[in-house]
């Protein structure tokens, strides 16, 4: 994808050699088990704290779903942003980001499904409806379709290098959706999400107990995502060497 006039200005071959999939394979193998153990312990602790220990009444009943819904939604956005960063580097013919871009996607899909379904489970008792065409909910659904489109596009293209490039372009273009999701509460006032969302900038609208419980679960999900993505990256390296799947492992130079 690099123009022959531009390539000498952006000599990324040394970066590509330093961040080789082979070197990453070994590192992922060492880190993965520790992240998995940490994720398991922290997820159990977070569930215990959020569902049993935090005082009843506030958050009451169905509000406890927020402890899963909000972290899952945050993870679905964070993973997509990481994919987009990797996609931009993959378009510069660096192999490791292409690998990570593909490894991140299924986990992003999983968290998006959790966010959508738990949102519905929270909406039914609180808003009286399983679904509304609220701006934030609709954009999260679009994010789900973009994730699925990414996986479908890769499945349709046999050539790994072309699959990497076309899917990377899709991810970069799909980044348009992320600020729309984030700013949807400001741009569209008539949304049921107003008043219950936590904001990264400005005063949190959640009670401090809810925010603490939410952050605990978010960190548990983060550890889980790291463990799973590292394991999937190793699988992609193996598949790229010995089968039809995976990514293009040929270097930039």
């Amino acid at each position: 994808m690099l123009d022959s006039d531009v390539a000498p200005l952006l000599n990324l071959a040394p970066l590509d050699r330093a961040a080789s999939p082979a070197r990453f394979y070994a590192l992922a193998g060492r880190l993965g088990p520790w992240l998995a153990r940490g994720a398991l312990v922290l997820t159990l602790v977070a569930l215990a704290v959020d569902l049993m220990i935090l005082p009843a009444g506030r958050p009451g009943g169905a509000d406890r779903i927020v402890f899963i819904h909000v972290p899952a939604a945050w993870m679905s956005l964070l993973i997509y942003v990481l994919m987009a960063g990797c996609a931009a580097l993959a378009l510069a013919n660096i192999r490791l980001p292409a690998l990570l871009m593909v490894a991140l996607a299924p986990t992003g899909v999983m968290f998006t499904i959790v966010a959508l379904c738990t949102g519905m489970a929270w909406g039914r008792p609180n808003w009286g409806a399983w679904w509304t065409w609220d701006a934030r909910i609709t954009c999260e659904l679009i994010l789900f379709f973009v994730y699925i489109g990414f996986l479908a596009l890769r499945a349709m293209i046999d050539d790994r290098r072309r699959a990497d490039r076309f899917s990377a372009v899709l991810v970069v273009v799909g980044m348009l959706n992320i600020p729309i999701i984030y700013y949807s509460l400001s741009w569209w006032n008539a949304t049921p999400h107003l008043g219950v969302a936590a904001s990264l900038i400005g005063p949190a609208k959640m009670a401090s107990t809810m925010l603490g419980g939410t952050l605990l679960m978010t960190f548990a999900f983060w550890l889980y995502a790291n463990a799973v993505v590292l394991a999937r990256s190793r699988v992609l390296v193996l598949e790229s060497r010995g089968g039809p799947g995976g990514v293009a492992l040929e270097g930039a130079g």
Partner: protein, 45 residues
């Protein structure tokens, strides 16, 4: 700890525990699927 209150969640137990169960089930399914892929990839090599 009042187990009845914990499971009823003020009458919304089905929504809360259904959400928890779905999330845990999806995470476990992803791990199982990944382990299967690892075994298949190692067998091919």
């Amino acid at each position: 700890m009042n187990w009845r209150d914990l499971f009823s969640m003020e009458g919304h137990g089905a929504y809360v525990w259904g959400s928890v169960g779905m999330c845990v089930a999806l995470m476990i399914a992803e791990v199982i699927w990944l382990r299967q892929r690892i075994r298949n990839a190692e067998r091919r090599l």
